[in-house]
Symmetry: C2
Amino acid sequence: MFESLPDRVSVYEVSPRDGLQNETAIVPTTKKQRLIEALAASGLTRIELTSFVSPKWVPQLADAEELCTLVDIKGSGVAYSALCPNIKGMERAIACGMPEIGIFISASETHNKKNVNKTIDETLATFVEVCAAAKQAGIKVRGYVSTLWGCPFEGAIDPRRGLQIAHQLVELGCYQVSLGDTIGVGTPLQTRDIVRLFLKELRPEQIALHMHDTRGTALANVIVGLECGVRDFDASIGGLGGCPYAPGAAGNLATEDLVFTLHGMGIQTGIDLDRLWEAGRVAESIVGRALPGKVHKAGVRSLRS
Amino acid sequence: MFESLPDRVSVYEVSPRDGLQNETAIVPTTKKQRLIEALAASGLTRIELTSFVSPKWVPQLADAEELCTLVDIKGSGVAYSALCPNIKGMERAIACGMPEIGIFISASETHNKKNVNKTIDETLATFVEVCAAAKQAGIKVRGYVSTLWGCPFEGAIDPRRGLQIAHQLVELGCYQVSLGDTIGVGTPLQTRDIVRLFLKELRPEQIALHMHDTRGTALANVIVGLECGVRDFDASIGGLGGCPYAPGAAGNLATEDLVFTLHGMGIQTGIDLDRLWEAGRVAESIVGRALPGKVHKAGVRSLRS
């Protein structure tokens, strides 16, 4: 075990989008800007800023355009991204000058239908248009395949269906596909099997893991993914995300816990953990509730070394 | 990875002792009884009941004798244990008819001194007397070596020192030594190295892992230990433990999260996860605060399967 650990892994920060879209309260744009600047100051180089979805569906992110004017989304050394569900979102992303976008689809037909009111095939057809526009505009595209470890409606999901979809996303031009345990039901053996399946047909840099911590398994699954060859992991500062009023919902793996662990294993991330921890304090102050991240709670200075 | 997983692992429940001793409020004895009965009803067969320490130092466990009269500590199918720091504690344990006791020592000289006001050698000398009395009374003895992953006072600890101590505990008659990441600083690579070191010289059934979740790494470390051959893991219901008023302190790995994960990997524990979850509700009600365990929060019925 751990005979071929990498020198470095890449952390993809999703809190401004995946975290804040699940907050009940709508966070003012200037406060989002503060959070994003704190995240960038920690050394994070990949940050998902927002989502160009309808404000009707996600009022928390209705300020996407305004946020793009406040954040230095070009030339800052940070690759900012935003989700685009369709060509309308893509047009907004182009107008804002986004350097990268994300497209998302579920490996579960039922979950996909409930999420975007389209079948998986209809969603993929939408992506053809989105990706063509992205290519023309010189915008990078990252894909998401969600509910791969299990669906709240269908239960177990055949990972081969997820792999088919991932192949289609890669063919459409996605430089990477982030595999999501959307409801946080994954266990390590399953993660080994899913990652092995994907890495038989895709290169390591083509996949990422996006693990939710609903049942406390996110970091264990990430470590299994790391051992199996994955080098890209999504995380959210302080574990931000999930609905605070819905028992059972929980956010992504906390970025601080991930970075603490990777650094403790001698793996570089380019991130300053002290400054990352400070960004977590900013996140907590702007959402006004205690965040669940463990290093966030414990601090990074409690062990003399 | 995971090419030789076991069919079954053993879970050692520490909440009545390691959990409750860290609660600020003193829990009434009959409420402890309720918790212990709920834990036993879930199928847990190893439960650390209390500690025969001075009530002056740990007033939360001053009711050790009374608790032993309320709980069916013999003939119940559950191996109940209690910590004994010295011969005085041992005499109390014998008087109560305890079938098993635990003795504890730190791999850090400074931590041991602050914890029991003795050097490591003085503590081992005390254990000679305790273990002789246990042998004579037919009582099983389990050892703990704490701060193996790091000490709050000394920082890094040489695991070879911990291994020496573990050997001495085994020679004194301990059937198993539980290796503790007392302040929850361990990362997976370190866990691999520590476990490998110990398993070069001890049999798997002679060691257990006792991981605190201060930085969110407990389950990841347990999975690494499992992969490296460990078959015994300590846990605490709901993640009970740590001082709720001390930021930075956190309890053991939550038993529900451990059992959910093991069962998800096809490994038996003999525990009914639904009933275990109910025991967590009891724990929460008797301490009167929200517990941090993730499955405890999310529930076990949120995924259709």
